[in-house]
Each structure stands twice: as structure tokens, then as C-alpha cells.
């Protein structure tokens, strides 16, 4: 049974709705990627060094990341030699498979670590403008819909209008926002928030923080302090530290993950704005080069477009065309 056939079977017990969401959200990436691949096959009929260089370019163009691409293409070179593949079309299925394997090969925990009978504290971190506050707003709504008692902590006391922005999301979701004045100590806000979350018996506390560039040592220290305050109040907290990454970010995403990981022990990644970019390849780089699982992906503007990440669905979304073609050929 082919790799994609197996995948298809695995997904058949999931709802079509989820499949469609990934399919649509990834359409940009798929179109540009598949288009480029088809062109490659037309331009280079034989598998030679030029073919591989062009392939490298296509993958790099999807932000897969230079290291990952070099590894992957080297593997393909070997494989082509071993299996004596001469025609480029014959290599195509192998390329799709190798890419897919990158996504699904090691089982990473993509589910959130939710405490079922006590308070779950989730801390959101990331650079400026990636969509932390928006993600919290959407997640608040999602948890509320699941019937949980949600509270928000307005820990971005620096950026103008950040507290108000979170409040608007709080109102929309109908959840309480714990805040202090702009400019106050974010650690103090967290202390307040965790106290009120405990006393009101909230199920989930979502903690916003100010965006900061990872090379600002003092700001990263501040973030460490924020986290320490949470841990002091509840030893297991924060139960999740989610790094919010903008999918349009290039190679700097790796540095972000590394530095935020060192400062706050990031437990998962939320990849936002994936629908707007043709560059969903960053997911592959993250999977390949980092030990941090992607837990959520933003596939659109609406609340329900923030979706739990499912590697199988992601692969399906990326290679929907290939999968359909295989199906047609076999039937």
C-alpha cells in the first residue's frame, strides 16, 4: 500500500470538516508548491545535478529552511543513485514521501496539557506582531465553547492599546480580563491573575505578554520572571508555554524558538497567519530542526480557523492533488 493511501485511510475516521479546513488553509502553499514541482519536472526530464539544485531552490522558496533542505536533497540524491532513478517524474513520488515523512516520522505530543480538575495556566510568548493577543482571544472563545471557565491576564503592559485589545476579545468571548494600568509590572499582573483565577475557580488562565525580540536580554529576563511568578503560585504552572510564530517569518523563526525556548521552556508552537502565505514549509523546518511540537495553526481570520495541529491532516492538505491523482489512477 502506498504511503498516501495509508494516510488517506488514517484520516477516513476524521470528519471531512477538519480535512477541508486544512485543505483550504493550505491551498496557497499547495498551489505554489505543486506548480513549481510540475514546472521542475517539465524543465528537467533527467535527474542530474541541475535538477537537484532547482529542487533545492523550490524547497527553500517555501521557507523549509536551508539545513533541512540540504539534508533532504542529499537523501534524495542517494536514493536516486541507489534505485537507479533516471527520469525526474519517477523521483516525484519519492519527494512527496520524504517531505511527508519529515512531518509525521516522530510522534510529537500535539495536544495541549489540560488539567481536567484544576486550573490550567497557559503562557503566551513571542516577538512583536505575531498575533499573541489575537490567538488568546480566539482560544478564549474556543475554551468557553467547550464549557470551561476562562480568564485572561493582560500581561502586555508595554504596547499602547494592548490591554484594550485583550479586553475587546474578553468581551466578545464573555470572559473576565485581569488587568492593571499600562506600564505596570507584568509579573504583578500575573500574580493578581493567578490569585483571582484560583479564588474564582477558573478552569483556564490565558496569560498574554508583551511582544519582545529575542535578542533583548533584559526583556527576556522579564519574561523569565513572569514565568517564575506563575510557578511560585502553582508549582506545575504554567502547564503550557506557547510560542506564537508568524508563518511568514523566515529563518529567524528558528532563532526565536531557540531563544524563547531557553528563557521560558516553550512547550508548544502556535503558527499564525498560515493561510496568507504560500510558505507553509516552515512547519517542516520546525519539525526537523527543533524539539518543539507545533500545537496550533492559524488557517484564517475566524475563531474556528485557529486549529489544533494534526500532522496527518497537514500532509494531506499539502499533497491533496497528489493523493487524488493516485486515487484516480488506482480506480
Amino acid at each position: 500500500m502506498s504511503f498516501f493511501k495509508k494516510l488517506k485511510d488514517k484520516l477516513s475516521n476524521q470528519t471531512d470538516q477538519v480535512t477541508d479546513k486544512f485543505r483550504d488553509g493550505l491551498s496557497k502553499t499547495r498551489e505554489s508548491f505543486v506548480g513549481a514541482m510540475n514546472e521542475l519536472m517539465m524543465d528537467y526530464r533527467t535527474v542530474d545535478e541541475e535538477f537537484f539544485e532547482e529542487l533545492e531552490d523550490i524547497l527553500i522558496a517555501s521557507d523549509v529552511g536551508v539545513n533541512t533542505v540540504m539534508e533532504l536533497v542529499d537523501e534524495l540524491r542517494e536514493e536516486a543513485l541507489r534505485q537507479n532513478i533516471k527520469k525526474s517524474v519517477d523521483l516525484q513520488p519519492l519527494i512527496s514521501e520524504k517531505l511527508s515523512e519529515l512531518l509525521v516520522r516522530d510522534e510529537q505530543e500535539t495536544k495541549l496539557n489540560m488539567q481536567e480538575d484544576s486550573l490550567t495556566v497557559i503562557l503566551f510568548v513571542g516577538v512583536n506582531g505575531v498575533g499573541k493577543t489575537t490567538t488568546i482571544g480566539k482560544m478564549a472563545q474556543k475554551f468557553k465553547n467547550e464549557g470551561r471557565r476562562v480568564m485572561l491576564a493582560a500581561g502586555d503592559t508595554f504596547r499602547a492599546g494592548a490591554i484594550e485589545q485583550l479586553e475587546v476579545w474578553g468581551e466578545r468571548a464573555g470572559v473576565e480580563v485581569v488587568k492593571q494600568q499600562a506600564g505596570s509590572d507584568p509579573a504583578a499582573v500575573m500574580y493578581d491573575a493567578i490569585q483571582s483565577a484560583k479564588s474564582r475557580k477558573a478552569d483556564v488562565l490565558l496569560c498574554d505578554t508583551a511582544g519582545r525580540l529575542q535578542n533583548k536580554v533584559n526583556l527576556m529576563k522579564e519574561l523569565e520572571k513572569v514565568k517564575r511568578v506563575l510557578t511560585r503560585e502553582i508549582p506545575e504552572a504554567p502547564h503550557e508555554v506557547l510560542l506564537v510564530l508568524d508563518a511568514t517569518t523566515g529563518q529567524n523563526a528558528m532563532t526565536q524558538a531557540k531563544m524563547f525556548g531557553e528563557a521560558t521552556d516553550v512547550s508548544g508552537i502556535v503558527l499564525t497567519k498560515l493561510d496568507g502565505t504560500a510558505k507553509g514549509g516552515i512547519v517542516l523546518a520546525i519539525r526537523n530542526e527543533l524539539d518543539i511540537p507545533v500545537k496550533f495553526v492559524g488557517l484564517g481570520e475566524k475563531v474556528e480557523d485557529l486549529h489544533e495541529f494534526d500532522p496527518d491532516q497537514y500532509v494531506h492538505g499539502l499533497f491533496a492533488d497528489v493523493i487524488e491523482r493516485e486515487e484516480q489512477e488506482s480506480s
Binding site: 496557497k28 531552490d57 527553500i60 522558496a61 517555501s62 521557507d63 536551508v66 516577538v127 512583536n128 506582531g129 505575531v130 498575533g131 482571544g137 508595554f158 504596547r159 499602547a160 492599546g161 494592548a162 484594550e164 485589545q165 479586553e167 475587546v168 476579545w169 499600562a182 525580540l213 529575542q214 535578542n215 533583548k216 536580554v217 533584559n218 508568524d246 511568514t248 517569518t249 523566515g250 529563518q251 529567524n252 523563526a253 528558528m254 532563532t255 531557540k258 497567519k273 493561510d275 496568507g276 502565505t277 504560500a278 510558505k279 516552515i282
Partner: protein, 447 residues
């Protein structure tokens, strides 16, 4: 750091050449591969890289590299020159309307930093050009975006035009321009909502705003961390709106910022400003030649020198320069410098511009905040004159006394002395660099 600069990358291929009497075409090819990877890792778009490598190869394979005594220098020089050229000539200024107000429209993706940049640009116009700008809040979609601009306005004491979020952005823009005329503002900066370049409806709205207010500048705000997609974003906004310039934001981060080359290459529009920090005055004119060396991982000496020039008073600077050259820096100078540096802005930003600063051992500890500066002052002031002039005399008992006198602990005293030594070393390197520059050559540590 995850990325190696081109300098480090080329080291390998340079070593190979060193042993040989002649540089072959294969050597150039090898070097070009490193250049290609360095640019790709810096997020320069792959198509742009391809063309670039082709151009450089043509120049490099010719005699310039072959006849040169130091081929490595030549390659870096060629690459740097081509890159600078690709990024356009010198810095540009804002277009101005024949009849005020000059209308500037800020556009871009979500989270690129439009609102923050609007505030910075307004302050820049007032501070540097003595203008009277009006900021207009036309982002009616993102929650509290209007509030953000209003808060910025309050902080900067800058007027903000807003009509709430129930009015169409087109109307807000029109009314803002009318208000500016009425109130004799010479600039109107329109902050629009962030949108995806593929969102047809919202892009149409920008068309309408443009048609309604006929802006003199349409500035595309681009996050300098953007990856390969930067070309598509820039291309779409440019085709649709005909942008007139670009602002690169978040350049105070550690990204190489290859997106700058990409957007310039595909739009042909000048990069006019660079966002260099969180504070409102952290907006600087864009310098292509500095960006080129940053993308190549060669630091940003020129920016640093200019920064020092605008902030350090002339006489003291001269004295400092003399001391830097003769390398007899004392703790008193150190203190003096700290005070001046404090005026220049956050120290970590300054350090970032230093070539090789990230790599130097002990440099990390040099990242001090303002509170720490006060501690340092206390420590230095607890030293005797002799100790300040000649730190070599500092022994255990002297250090203990200094620690007691300043109310800090002995580790901190030790750390400061270490930092002072590092700083001396850094100064030495800096003077070495600027001297090398004067001779017109590049001076890389490995050459």
C-alpha cells in the same frame, strides 16, 4: 546565533585557496556556493539570489579575483558592492506635496508594525524636520487599534484624527485630510489596517482610500524578519497600489534582514526608513551599504559611528578617540563613556551594531540596563584615583574595600573589571576597523 555570517562561511573555502598559488574557477564556484547559502539563510528570496550570484560570478571570474593577491577580500568586496547597488543608491526622503498637507498612507500585513511606525514617523517629522503632522486612525478592524494610535498620540503629544470603528476607512481618510487642511498640518499619516496581500476585498479598500485622498507617499511597512514570501507581499502591494517607498521594521532584532533585498529587488522602490527599537524615536533613515554588510554578517560599524557622532559631544569624542587609539583607557573614561552611551540609547542596541560583537566571549555580560549602570557608577566611584588610572593594582583587599564602599558584592566588582578589559579589547578592534576602512580596504579578522 543560528546563522553564520558570510565571513565565517567563506573561511573554509579561503583556507583551501591559501595553500595554492592560483585561484581556479572551481574555487570561485565554491565561494559562490557559500555566498548563495549565506544569502538564502539571510532570507533573501531565492530568485533574487540566483540573479545576484550570476552577476557577481561574471564580475568575480574575471581578472578581479584571479589577479588579486587576496582573493577573499576581493570576493567580499565585489559581493558587498553588488549588494549595496542592488539595494539602491543612498537614502531617500519623503515625497512632499506641492501644496500641504503631504498625505502619507501606511500599508502592510498584520503585525508588520504600521501603527508603531506611524507614531515614529510623526515624531521624526516633528523632531528632525520641524513639521506638524496629523495621525489618522483608519484601522477599524483590529480590536483597539484606534486606541493604540490614540495612546501613542498622547505619549508623543501628537494630534490623532479618529472617528471610531463604525465609519468606513475611506471616509476617515478623507475627513482626516480635510481636517489637516483646516488646522494647517503639513503632513497627514494614515494608519490603515493590516491585511493579507491575497485578500481581494481589503486590498480593494486600499484602492479606494488611495483614490479618495491621492497620497504623495504610499509606504509599505515590512517586518524585516519576513521570509521568502516577502517578494510576493511586496509585489502584490506594489502592483495593486503603486507603493512609493518601503519601511523595514524590527531591524533591532537579530535577523539578517534579507527581506530588504528581496522587496527592493522586486519593486524597485526605495527603502526609506528602518525601525530600530521599541522606543518612539527609534526610526532611522535607511542606509543600503550598512544593510549590505549586515546581511553578509559584517556588522554595522557605520551606524554606530554616526550614532556616536550625533549624541556624543564633539570635544569629548575627540579625546575618547585619542584614548582609544593609544589604548590607555582608564576607569574614569569608562565612567564618562557610560554616561554618554546612556544618552545614545539602550546599550544592547549599540552592541548589536558592532561586528563580531555577538561572537566575542564575555560580550553577553556587557549587556547592561540603566539600573546596572548606576551600580557600575557606584563601584567605580569607590575606587581611588590610582585604581581608576591603573586597574592592574586591584588586588583582593582593594576589591573587598570597593565592594563595601559601593554596597555591591565582590563578584560584581570582579565582573566590572572583566567587562572593562573586554571593552578595552573591543575599542582596540574598533579603531583597527576604522583605520582599515580609511585605507579603502576591508579588514576581516581572518585575512
Amino acid at each position: 546565533m543560528a546563522f553564520e555570517g558570510l565571513a565565517e562561511r567563506l573561511q573554509g573555502s579561503m583556507k583551501k585557496i591559501k595553500g595554492k598559488g592560483k585561484v581556479t574557477e572551481q574555487d570561485v564556484k565554491d565561494m559562490m556556493r557559500e555566498v548563495r547559502l549565506a544569502l538564502l539563510e539571510a532570507d533573501v528570496n531565492f530568485k533574487v539570489v540566483k540573479q545576484f550570484i550570476k552577476d557577481v560570478k561574471e564580475r568575480a571570474v574575471g581578472q578581479e579575483v584571479m589577479d588579486s593577491l587576496t582573493p577573499g577580500q576581493q570576493v567580499i568586496k565585489v559581493v558587498n558592492e553588488e549588494l549595496t547597488e542592488l539595494m539602491g543608491g543612498e537614502q531617500s526622503r519623503l515625497n512632499t506635496a506641492q501644496k500641504p498637507p503631504t498625505v502619507v498612507m501606511m500599508v502592510g500585513l498584520q503585525g508588520a508594525g504600521k501603527t508603531t511606525t506611524t507614531g515614529k514617523l510623526a515624531l521624526h517629522l516633528r523632531k528632525k524636520h520641524n513639521r506638524k503632522p496629523l495621525m489618522a486612525a483608519a484601522d477599524i478592524y483590529r480590536p483597539a487599534a484606534i486606541k493604540q494610535l490614540e495612546t501613542l498620540g498622547k505619549q508623543l503629544d501628537m494630534p490623532v484624527f479618529s472617528m471610531g470603528d463604525q465609519v468606513s476607512p475611506v471616509e476617515i481618510a478623507e475627513k482626516a485630510v480635510a481636517e489637516a487642511k483646516e488646522e494647517h498640518h503639513d503632513y497627514v499619516l494614515i494608519d490603515t489596517a493590516g491585511r493579507l496581500h491575497v485578500d481581494d476585498d481589503l486590498m480593494g479598500e486600499l484602492d479606494q482610500i488611495k483614490a479618495a485622498v491621492k497620497p504623495d507617499e504610499v509606504l509599505l511597512v515590512v517586518d524585516s524578519m519576513t521570509g521568502q514570501d516577502a517578494v510576493n507581499v511586496a509585489e502584490s502591494f506594489n502592483e495593486r497600489l503603486g507603493i512609493t517607498g518601503i519601511v523595514m521594521t524590527k531591524l533591532d532584532g537579530d535577523t539578517r534582514g534579507g527581506a530588504a533585498i528581496s522587496v527592493k529587488a522586486v519593486t524597485g522602490k526605495p527603502i526609506k526608513f528602518a525601525g530600530m527599537g521599541e522606543k518612539s524615536d527609534a526610526l532611522e533613515p535607511f542606509h543600503p551599504e550598512r544593510m549590505a554588510s549586515r546581511i553578509l554578517g559584517m556588522g554595522d560599524m557605520l551606524s554606530l559611528i554616526e550614532k556616536a557622532q550625533t549624541n556624543v559631544d564633539e570635544e569629548k569624542a575627540k579625546e575618547l578617540e585619542r584614548k582609544m587609539r593609544s589604548n590607555d583607557l582608564t576607569f574614569d573614561d569608562f565612567l564618562d563613556q557610560l554616561a554618554q552611551v546612556k544618552d545614545m540609547g539602550p546599550i544592547d542596541e549599540l552592541l548589536q551594531m558592532m561586528p563580531g560583537a555577538g561572537k566575542m566571549k564575555g560580550m553577553k555580560n556587557l549587556q547592561v540596563d540603566d539600573k546596572q549602570i548606576a551600580h557600575i557608577e557606584a563601584i567605580v566611584k569607590s575606587m581611588t584615583k590610582e585604581e581608576r588610572d591603573n586597574p592592574a593594582v586591584l588586588n583582593g583587599s582593594r576589591k573587598r574595600r570597593i565592594a563595601k564602599g559601593s554596597g555591591r558584592n565582590i563578584q560584581e566588582v570582579n565582573r566590572l573589571i572583566k567587562q572593562f578589559d573586554e571593552m578595552k579589547k573591543m575599542m582596540k578592534q574598533m579603531t583597527g576597523m576604522s583605520k582599515g576602512k580609511k585605507k579603502g580596504g576591508f579588514k576581516m579578522p581572518f585575512m
